[in-house]
């Protein structure tokens, strides 16, 4: 132990995670504005469950609480899952999702930095497989809902199941769900796009939230928390694959723009696929990893049985990360140059 360097740059895991939370705020604000305060309830619930499970597991593993609880990493997983789940779902859905994310996907793999899979996405995948009905009941935008939901209504609905208002009064099928069921019934895309749940470029309401995630993601990029590789390659993967599919069969497949601004694509591109622990790390590896995740997202949406494919695509690519990293190691200073220089930053 020589000890040098004696000076350290002033950054920490906690600050990195905190900046991710900050960058999510524009999207959350847009969500509250367009869908009502339901998202606040799920954020609070998920955060509380995440801290609770994290504490329990740290105690069980006999690890010090202070450094690990203050690293904000559990909060990031909690917020990402909360933003991926429908709001106004029963409280136990959040508890199960967070439990799987924190206990199984994170702590049982060894805790912070050791997990192979993105915890929030593991939680999401488990829920959509186990409780598909709850997972597709998304509150409609305020402009389309018969009944506006206040903060206390939201708490009431989440904890008592139905509350005083019927679920039909505030939920509607999501865009991706509608697309999937309707095109299989041979509804023409033009007819579909004329429905009120479609906005200018994506799902009404959700498209604005996605734009705000994009804005938050750009903040992360300018703040040097993420590099351009993963978001750009992910979005390009989605757009290219969707474009090719639409060219092949425009009656079955949605436009690239609709794919980009619906479902979890923007959140996934800037906040989930970029999770450093589970993403590829080399510059070329990041491009391959994210482009493949984008490709798989559209393939799952187009041909799979689930409406959205972001979570499964990212989980599948998480599995490939060690392999991708191993084959894309950058040339080390002073080593002979190889023939190909593709993808170097």
């Amino acid at each position: 132990m020589i000890g040098s360097p004696y000076t350290l740059a002033s950054n920490s895991t906690a600050t990195i995670m905190f900046k991710v939370l900050l960058a999510l705020l524009p999207g959350i604000a847009a969500h509250v504005w367009l869908f009502g305060p339901g998202i606040v309830v799920s954020l609070i619930l998920c955060s509380a469950f995440a801290i609770g499970f994290e504490t329990l597991l740290l105690l069980a593993r006999r690890l010090p609480l202070q450094p690990f609880l203050s690293d904000n990493s559990a909060l990031v997983s909690a917020w990402l899952l909360a933003l991926s789940l429908p709001t106004l779902a029963p409280w136990w859905l959040y508890a199960i999702g967070i439990g799987i994310a924190i206990v199984i996907a994170k702590q049982l793999y060894g805790g912070l930095g050791q997990n192979l899979f993105n915890p929030a996405m593991v939680g999401y995948a488990a829920l959509i497989v186990s409780f598909p009905v709850y997972m597709t009941q998304w509150p409609a935008p305020i402009v389309l809902a018969d009944h506006a939901i206040g903060l206390w209504d939201a708490f009431d609905i989440v904890f008592s199941g139905q509350g005083s208002i019927s679920a039909d009064a505030y939920t509607s099928a999501t865009l991706l769900d509608t697309w999937k069921t309707q095109v299989r019934l041979n509804t023409a895309p033009e007819v579909l796009l004329a429905q009120p749940i479609f906005g200018w470029i994506g799902a009404r309401g959700h498209e604005i939230v996605a734009l705000m995630y994009l804005a938050g993601g750009l903040l992360l990029f300018w703040g040097k928390r993420i590099t351009w590789h993963i978001p750009l390659a992910f979005l390009a993967g989605v757009a290219l694959t969707a474009g090719v599919l639409q060219l092949i069969d425009p009656t079955q497949h949605a436009s690239p723009l609709l794919h980009l601004f619906s479902g979890g694509v923007m959140l996934g591109a800037f906040f989930i696929a970029t999770d450093p622990v589970t993403a590829a790390t080399t510059p070329r590896g990041k491009l391959i990893y994210a482009a493949m995740a984008g490709f798989l997202t559209v393939i799952i949406r187009g041909f799979g049985s689930f409406p959205d494919g972001v979570a499964f695509a990212i989980l599948l690519m998480n599995m490939c990360v060690p392999f991708i990293d191993d084959y894309t190691q950058p040339r080390v200073f002073g080593h002979p140059r190889k023939r190909s220089k593709a993808g170097q930053p």
């Binding site: 132990m1 040098s4 360097p5 950054n11 895991t13 600050t15 450093p276 790390t281 040339r331």
Partner: protein
């Protein structure tokens, strides 16, 4: 003058802290009563003491002679008497003592007959022979014997790079040297150019030293290129500066001489000037003393000056000082003992305080954020090397090019989890070296064993043949009972010798053999205790991880 630069990957911008010590001119340390001249001040074989206790020495006299090829001499910093040749505290990260010649000054500071040299009239090889015993070694910190670097051998050197980047924070000794002694330094560089027989001279200075740049531009002949390089640590690393100025990468595992480039520090050029034009061996250097002291600054200190005296010369440490760093904050190490002297490698001493160097935050797990890889000037993936070093999977760590790591500390500097990455890499490297040593000695033992088995076999065979021959001979001789009588007196004598030896061995066995750790002088015992506590400390921190 074209000044195209090639930017290397990564690098960091730690706080500079140059202003503390670069304002005042270099002050010459007054003569001290006592100097400690270690024999190991350079890379390679330590020098061999050639004086005895009680000898009178003169300033510039050799007290330790170069031993072998990669070695250089050590000289008396002043005139006086040799009072001890013993293990003394030296500035080394281990805190272990090392052999040194202790000189008590007589206050007269008489010097040997120093002979200036007309180097332009000498051919390069005569010049090199002349400086062989001048004790020159790289003053940038690597302390490789300079006369070897000035001998290109079979490799043709076309470019001489002089390193005035001084990229480590806090250190300003090269800055002041360039500002104040540019003309002398320039002559030193010309001597280097002559010895190497090269044409191009590039001088790289970070742009946070405008005065030094101006001074060197003023002193440089028109055919040099004095280049301003952006302030970005570690631009002063040999490989990084070479790349910055020429765009040439030093091949892995090789030296810049493999691509026809030789790199010297400005301090070395200055001491070469003194050695050749003044005939003065390397007996002093400029040291930055900064940090939590009354008057930070640069001091021209004689080699062997105890560091405690150096701190005193800067007005002493301020209250609340919490230790010292030898070298810069990025690559330096903690000083264990203030009695350790200034050596050729010591370019800076920083007195720490908790506000200047706050205690390090808790180490958290790696989140693979890749900040280290983005900061690494060698394009390595430090987090992968850390992963495998931590798991003691050294083979894998090596496959991520562990040995291309220059230990600059950029990765640990940027790590948000505050992992002491460089410590892991140093540990992994030393473990790998240790295993290679073990393997080499095991190989050697095996070869020895095989040869022994072969020899025994051969001897047995030869003996058998001899016996067979002798038996035949005696048969031929006629079966007379020869041999017994003439051999008798000889055998008697041998028996007596054998008996005496056995008795001696038995006696020796009865008297208990003392261990070499019994009956130690108190100072050595203290030293051992100190090492044991440090080791215990290290083991504790290791086991906590």
């Amino acid at each position: 003058m074209k000044t195209q630069l090639f930017t290397f990957h990564g690098g960091v911008h730690p706080e500079q802290h140059k202003a503390e010590s670069n304002a005042a001119p270099i002050s010459v340390m007054p003569l001290l009563p006592r100097y400690v001249v270690p024999m190991r001040q350079h890379i390679g074989t330590p020098a061999r003491p050639v004086v005895s206790v009680g000898d009178r020495v003169l300033r510039g006299q050799i007290v330790g002679a170069a031993e072998g090829y990669v070695s250089t001499a050590a000289h008396a910093p002043t005139s006086g008497r040799v009072v001890a040749i013993e293990a003394c505290a030296v500035p080394h990260p281990s805190g272990l003592f090392d052999l040194a010649v202790v000189i008590e000054a007589d206050g007269e500071d008489l010097s040997i007959d120093m002979q200036p040299l007309d180097w332009r009239a000498l051919d390069p090889s005569a010049l090199r022979n002349r400086i062989r015993d001048m004790g020159l070694a790289g003053l940038g910190g690597a302390v490789f014997p300079s006369y070897i670097k000035l001998n290109p051998g079979a490799q043709k050197i076309h470019t001489l790079i002089v390193n005035g980047a001084e990229c480590e924070p806090w250190i300003t000794c090269d800055d002041r040297l360039m500002r104040e002694r540019a003309a002398e330094l320039a002559r030193g560089i010309e001597i280097m150019r002559h010895a190497l027989g090269c044409t191009t001279v590039l001088l790289g200075i970070e742009d946070n030293k405008p005065e030094a740049l101006a001074a060197m531009r003023g002193a440089a002949p028109p055919d040099w290129r004095v280049m301003s390089v952006p302030t970005l640590y570690p631009s002063g690393g040999g490989k990084q500066l070479t790349y910055l100025l020429t765009g040439v990468e030093t091949p892995t595992g090789g030296r810049s001489t493999d691509v026809g480039i030789q790199v010297f520090n400005v301090g070395t050029a200055y001491s070469l000037y003194r050695a050749v034009e003044l005939g003065e061996p390397l007996i002093s250097r400029v040291v930055t003393l900064t940090g939590h002291v009354a008057q930070p600054g640069n001091f021209e200190a004689r080699i062997g000056t105890p560091l405690a005296d150096l701190i005193a010369a800067a007005g002493g440490a301020l209250p609340g000082a919490s230790g010292e760093i030898v070298g810069g904050p990025m690559m330096g190490f903690d000083l264990m003992d203030l009695a350790a002297p200034v050596t050729k490698a010591v370019n800076c001493l920083i007195v720490k305080s908790p506000s200047l160097f706050p205690p390090k935050p808790v180490e958290l797990p790696c989140i693979r954020c890749g900040a280290c890889a983005r900061a690494c000037p060698a394009d390595l993936q430090p987090f992968e090397m850390y992963w495998y070093s931590h798991a003691k999977n050294f083979g894998h760590a090596q496959s991520y090019h562990l040995f291309d790591c220059i230990e600059c500390g950029c990765c640990a500097y940027v790590c948000p989890s505050h992992i002491p990455l460089v410590d892991y890499f140093r540990f992994a490297k030393s473990e790998i070296w240790e295993r290679e040593r073990e393997k080499a000695s095991a190989d050697q033992a095996r070869v020895r064993h095989e040869f022994k088995a072969f020899r025994l076999e051969r001897e047995k065979r030869e003996k058998a043949e001899k016996f067979a021959k002798a038996a035949e001979k005696s048969k031929v001789a006629g079966g007379a009972d020869a041999g017994a009588a003439p051999a008798d007196p000889d055998a008697e004598k041998k028996k007596a010798i054998l008996q005496a030896a056995l008795e001696r061995a038995a006696q020796a066995k009865q008297t208990v053999t003392p261990k070499n750790t019994d009956n130690l002088p108190p100072r050595v015992q203290q030293e051992i205790d100190a090492i044991e506590t440090r080791r215990a400390g290290v083991e504790n921190t290791e086991s906590q991880k």
